[in-house]
Point group: D2
Chain length 418, copies 4
């Protein structure tokens, strides 16, 4: 059935570029998967194609891609070649999208957009950005990585300390947006302010560990980063919401990265489907002398993949288009939180559907392909291990997503921490 299509012109360019560069990624994917190495040559291919700067505004040398729908469609294509690198570059693209949107928001409010503009300059010039959010034992809204305000005597500014895990893209990131908290100047003991610390690779006190060794997504460079008294200038802390609170801009920048993640798993499923169909039409049964594809069981399994993909594509696309509609021309922080929760609940529903579909399609595809699909050298090996990363992506785990969706539907989701 119909794959997803871009809805904007620049989006179509992005999708076409992803399709063109995909085979180059596919070529080395298995080796990086086996060795757990980051696909440097793949990253270079992405940069060379120009797509890495797709979300940078034209004024800063990029393509000005704004549609998160089209971004997702392109990433789903890229994932046919290498899902690890896809979630890695998604991290950079989403960070870029957020910075570009913040810059536009600032301009719209008549404020100086000096800080985001400086960053966009770097990104337009080829720098790679990442968001660094995950910590052990807590969720994304409650970071324990901490910024301490330094006395003027010590030169002022901030000291950043903490440990992050699942730091996808870390081997190559030039700019790191680290979620952190700091005590609110006027607050009491429990008054924490959250935000992002803007850190540059190579700063003193940063250790990027080469310790990523997982079941799948092995080439995504998702090891840990330790921040030990990293010194930052005053303006390197972008203060956000009260710690633990939902805010419109917080959720929307999070969604900008998560739609692409989910699209990656759609791409994995599409790849498994394509491989299975290829196999089904090639395999013969020696004794019966019939092609595998003429088996009603095979047709049924193929149909189940088709239906799962049809459902997954449709709900992901519809949710992304709704998100595009919500943010188009708006100042993120001014979008009513209730609207944001509604779209977020829609996204969580889409994510549940896509992740389930992706896991099921890979499973069915392996069954259609037969016993050889279980061999370590089979292309299904990587797909089977990669696809299981999906449900771990925060927020939310499948365990939490249902409760969130239900509470939004019942009008129970306030701006309080859950």
């Amino acid at each position: 059935m119909e794959p997803l299509r871009a809805v904007t012109e620049v989006g179509a360019r992005f999708v076409a570029t992803c399709e063109q560069v995909m085979p180059a990624l596919a070529e080395h994917a298995d080796v990086h998967d086996r060795d757990g190495t980051f696909p440097m040559e793949g990253l270079e291919a992405l940069k060379a194609s120009g797509m890495a700067a797709a979300c940078v505004p034209v004024a800063h040398g990029g393509w000005g891609l704004e549609s998160l729908h089209d971004l997702s469609v392109g990433l789903s294509r890229l994932a046919h070649g290498d899902a690890s690198l896809t979630i890695a570059i998604n991290m950079h693209l989403a960070a870029t999208w957020t910075v570009a949107t913040v810059a536009a928001n600032e301009r719209a409010k008549g404020r100086s957009a000096a800080a985001p503009n400086a960053l966009l300059g770097l990104l337009g010039g080829g720098a790679i950005a990442m968001v660094n959010a995950t910590e052990a034992g807590t969720d994304n809204r409650h970071p324990f990585t901490e910024l301490t305000r330094l006395d003027e005597a010590d030169g002022g500014g901030w000291s950043l300390s903490g440990t992050k895990i699942f730091s996808t893209l870390s081997p190559v990131a030039d700019v790191i947006m680290v979620s952190a908290r700091t005590r609110h100047p006027e607050g009491g003991d429990d008054a924490w302010q959250a935000g992002f610390a803007l850190v540059f690779a190579g700063n003193d006190g940063i250790t990027v560990n080469d310790d990523w060794d997982a079941i799948g997504m092995r080439a995504s460079g998702s090891g840990s980063i330790v921040y030990d008294d990293v010194r930052l200038a005053e303006e390197q802390f972008l203060a956000g919401n009260a710690w633990g609170r939902w805010t419109s801009s917080g959720v929307l920048s999070l969604l900008s990265g998560n739609v692409g993640l989910v699209a990656t798993f759609l791409g994995i499923a599409e790849r498994a489907h394509d491989l299975a169909l290829e196999k089904a039409t090639r395999v013969a049964r020696k004794a019966q002398g019939t092609a595998h594809e003429s088996d009603p069981g095979v047709r049924r399994a193929v149909a189940e993949m088709e239906v799962a993909l049809a459902g997954a594509r449709a709900v992901l696309a519809r949710c992304c288009l709704e998100l595009d509609d919500l943010v188009r021309g708006q100042v993120l922080a001014e979008i009513p939180l209730a609207d944001v929760h509604r779209v977020h609940a829609h996204f969580q529903a889409a994510k549940l559907i896509v992740q389930r579909a992706a896991i099921d399609v890979v499973d069915s595809a392996m069954t259609v392909a037969g016993g050889s699909a279980y061999l370590a050298t089979s292309p299904f090996s990587r797909l089977y291990r990669d696809v299981r990363a999906g449900p771990f992506m925060q927020p939310f785990s499948p365990i939490e997503a249902w409760d969130y969706i239900g509470s939004v539907a019942l009008g129970q989701e306030g701006d309080e921490a859950r």
Copy 2:
């Protein structure tokens, strides 16, 4: 979450009109359900609203609605009030859409569109049309209702005989398009030609039986019609494809009616969902003194409804938009059959997803609402019985749909009869 929205201006008018007239339908739905009577006052309300002529071209006094997507969205809203009447009026609207499209196609080919134009005149003037396709023991592509060519001595023309069942809308239809077959003039014993006989209510030889008595959809007027030597003029037979064959125009006119049917079941599910949420937020537990909605099990069940509806809406909308794209400005008969099969497979996937979602949502809604939902006087009684009609709608039963989808995906679906 977001309900479906029209994408055209006239579509938006259609949807708004459906929403306005819906409560009037809801008012009498239970009585007609109980008694198995056709909602005459509801039909009058639909006519009065103008929506019954929505698919009639503007030139013939209608609204010129062409988007099957928007038609479906409106029907999903109408179904909140009375699903029986919704599938009945859908029959008329789809027949109108087909006639209007055929007329446009004829004009585009520079041919006289006299016959369809005449019909459009009637429809613009308030006539109600229906397609009459289902027979016992066979599928829609293989009608056994037969047209026999009459000798010139007998006045020429045709004699029509056969029995149809599930003849939705039959109590009020003015014009009936009866699927039938006739021996091909040049053919051998097995050479049958299929097509539609254009019959007018009240013609000699037609018996519309008041014998519809089903588990649900009891107000849809879906009894049997017996045609016994009904005499037709030469031009009252619209010859189509060879009997049993897939043709582009055949499938597309069939889909024009089926998208609205599926949308009806989405509407049933939405109604069940709304009732359940109302109930969940009202009910208290005497002993615990807590509201039902604060129960994590209730939130989960609500979330399951939300996710099912999100998936159903998205795939139905995406499939309808693809169908709109395919037929826009095209001569139906000239659209490549492979493209038609691809969209039809997409539709069958959407249908499987929506029907499953609709049945599951009604089930979950009843669970959320609690034991009173099992009473005959509960609004859930009708929804529970109506929703089960979905999987019986031809083509295809769930049994056949999987095989069809799989065979299209594997490139096995030729124009041969299955």
Copy 3:
């Protein structure tokens, strides 16, 4: 596949008797379903077969059936004929089993079993017993029907008032065990004691309403009963646990009735399966000239029914045998509550599996049988409406069951009220 089989000799007699009497029930089931009347002639047939006294000890004129597994197997067979009457007689059989077990427990403790013995005498003589537990807005562990102690001046004893709903078997019950609460003599304001009031049909103040009108189970006589100052002698209150508390004897007597309920839904599914297979092997397709059963989609749907039934039978049987093992020769009240929760969680798992299987099998069976299965006169009409009663049976609704099972597995289920 293999239907369930009795594991005891008397159980085998019970199952055989159920099989023999079943056709007589089937004969009138549709009429009672349509009219919502209680099948008096069916009840007489059950009495005449002796099975109504199956759980009465031999010494009191019964068969001495103790195995709840075998009781359930027999009821699953009976449900092939009339599910309404099956859940009604189950109510009586479970009440009998509980009284017989309590009597044996009393004897084992060397106590007088005068009260239960008296009751067993009545039951051995043909009396029909029922438990009356359900009230609106609360669960079974928190009845609000209340017993008030009367002054000696008023003759002592108790006054019972309250309203029960879903009072299955009420049109014919001679003895009613009404769950109720009373203020604990020594307790403060919140100190309630729960237990059963033993009431006889025809006592002053009892109104058995003929108000049962539901989607299905229409012949089960499940209307409401109002108790308005019903006067009871001292010994007619069987004091149980603190109100709202789980107790071993409370849960086990509840399970004694619930295993048979669940077995009934298995029987409904088996009946639907049998009808579908009959239909599949009879139906031909006129155009193709092939039997329906040769369709791979039909084989698949049949297989899905087989698998669902295999799973449902196995888990119901294994759970019932575990329950039989737990209570065999034990004093109910002395069985550790943790063991009881473990078996109850097993039962809730079995119930979820059987109810889901039953609903799915009826659905698949209707699909296999084709469009005629949707007619009101089809045998599937009653099965489709009856089977949906399952998830409403307390405890637990599917909403609550998951939480209970999870909490037992996590060791969180104390004897506190939930």
Copy 4:
């Protein structure tokens, strides 16, 4: 909930022994999984425990275990430690069971059981046996490995040639039962006879390849074996059925190995469940200060695992007990084929349920355990990769199983090849 329990005394000994030896297996499982090596020290532990000879009759120095139910229960326990070694030793145990049953059958018919007795002598003395059945491009009933009868001039006997894959246990097997075919002496071109060639490790012409490298089950020693003109004595071919035909003894010996296979996947799921519960009760959420287990989503996920396991255990146990009943004291070849198909269909249903449950439970367990479950060093890594082997186990793949079950239910399964 209740794990499965043995139903015979010797079975209880077997299960207890499996539980005792399991931790020793667990100790080295991860290393063998990583390196793809066969767990020699684990095999020695199994031999030392005596369990490897469990199915050898007492007269030949074994335990005389006959119940396939109890065999399966023990294997499910063993799989908690190392699933690879469990499917390997199952291969040996099932081969032993079949030889012991054949010997008993021969004696029962008053025939010499010299050949099976000789084999039992070896097995009682510590020899390891395996069945070698799988070939690429065909199913188990249609082996293409071929026996050619040699002229008396060449010394008579047979020459065996062919290639087998998925030869589990091959690194250590002393005795190999190779499924093969030979031209029927009286037959025409298409008349093939099937049966087993009895081969001893180290015979000339056998190459056991160290080429097993799969996603999971990496320590099972399942590489390929090439037979190139292996010379066999006359009596080393155990002639069976006509090639491609179902026979009672063929199916039953196959089932003897397959019940243990399925039990292994149950064991994998149980292990995943246990690990997840351990994790759920240990993990805390730093920000909220609450234990993970108090989350309703966690309780729900745990409950889903419980229900899946309850269903899987019950249906596997019931099917095994039915199989035990069928073969007890019977000559395998004389059991009516229809009965065998009925039990086989039951087994296929059980297999579908258990495999689905196992995959789902591992998935849920990983979700409950959280992101660390995705690391290569997590115990879930092996479970996730091992569990996917299940659906590949022949016969049948999930694709074929549905069709087989449906055809048996519809009475269409003759003794003809499918």
